[in-house]
Amino acid sequence: MRTLYAELNKRFPLGELTVQREDLGFITVEREHLRALLLHLRDLEGFTHLVLLTAVDWMEEGIFQLTYLLSDRKKRRDLGLRVMIARDGASMETVHDVWPTAATYQRELCEMFGIDFPDSPGVHDPFILEGWTDIPPYRREFDTKKYADETFTHRAGRETNDPAEYMKKQLYPDGA
């Protein structure tokens, strides 16, 4: 993994490398190098598979972190590329032409985080939220509980317990 990083670093200006496992690492890259890097990884380094594309909402920093997780099946290693983009008017270049599967992930990100991917096919079509009018639900400013309370009727008499506490009480009623 480190050799790969060293190799890549010769060609692209890369951020730091986080090695999670021997076969799984994450690299932070600049947005403008992403595409070239992806193509390089896909065509020359054997990362043929886009495992997933997901986002993390760093609300406090005002950024979204996009993670492109790639897999090299021959060498059994995975590499995640992190790209930071601005949270306001979030938008990112589409990579569906590199991996067609990306279109689906991008559609999901668009719906859940409100990140736009111009030119990605069907990116604005509803994915699982048909007729959603509120702000995208995975943004952290979205208050799920409040929304659920307002939208859905709850059955009276429901109790909520902390499972650990509750089981403790059930199994050891004497507090031992």
């Binding site: 979205f142 799920t144 659920a148 939208t151 859905f152 009727t153 709850h154 059955r155």
Partner: protein
Amino acid sequence: MKDELKKRIITGPDGFEFEVDPLNDYYCDAPPKVHPPAYVKIVEDLFNWARSESIWILGFGTGCGAIEMRPLMTPRFDAYRYGVQWRPTPRQSNLFIISGYLSVKTLKRVIRSYEQMQSPKYVIGLGSCTINGGMYWDSYNTIKKLDEYLPVDLYIAGCMPRPEALLKGFEDLKKIIRAGEGEGANIYAKNFDWYKANQKKVIQDWDMPDYNW
């Protein structure tokens, strides 16, 4: 709303132009009717007995409970013994098992399928999610109380209940039917506006007729 559902101007083969309103022209918009039981009691009793002994389930797995329904067909549980069998189309089914949580998107399909079943028809809510949301009680995208949206005859609690519980549920449902209390379809028709209001509250892009025949 999808483009296909919007009104459009069509030119006929003879050059005549006219408007097509898909929601009106392609879908029947009659409201459901209340179907009274047979006039003669003994006939109704016979029918109810037959209904209870011939429960055809709509094969529609909405949540994780669908996994629990499959074993009923296997030799171990063999629900066929009780006159229970699965049908591939709502038209021919009598029992709709809501097997677990219902997302809003699925609810729309469930309503549609339910309305396409013929009366009398029954609904079983399987698992806690259908009762009060269960572990999804605070989810932004699942309904919490099934009977707000559909007339439920029977709930089977658990997360998830085992197939045996389902079999027991069938037996209880049979009793309900035989007692002439499985009138969910009529309740739905009677309280149609209320159900619709509830449904439309969560389904915000309501783009179908009120009743899906």
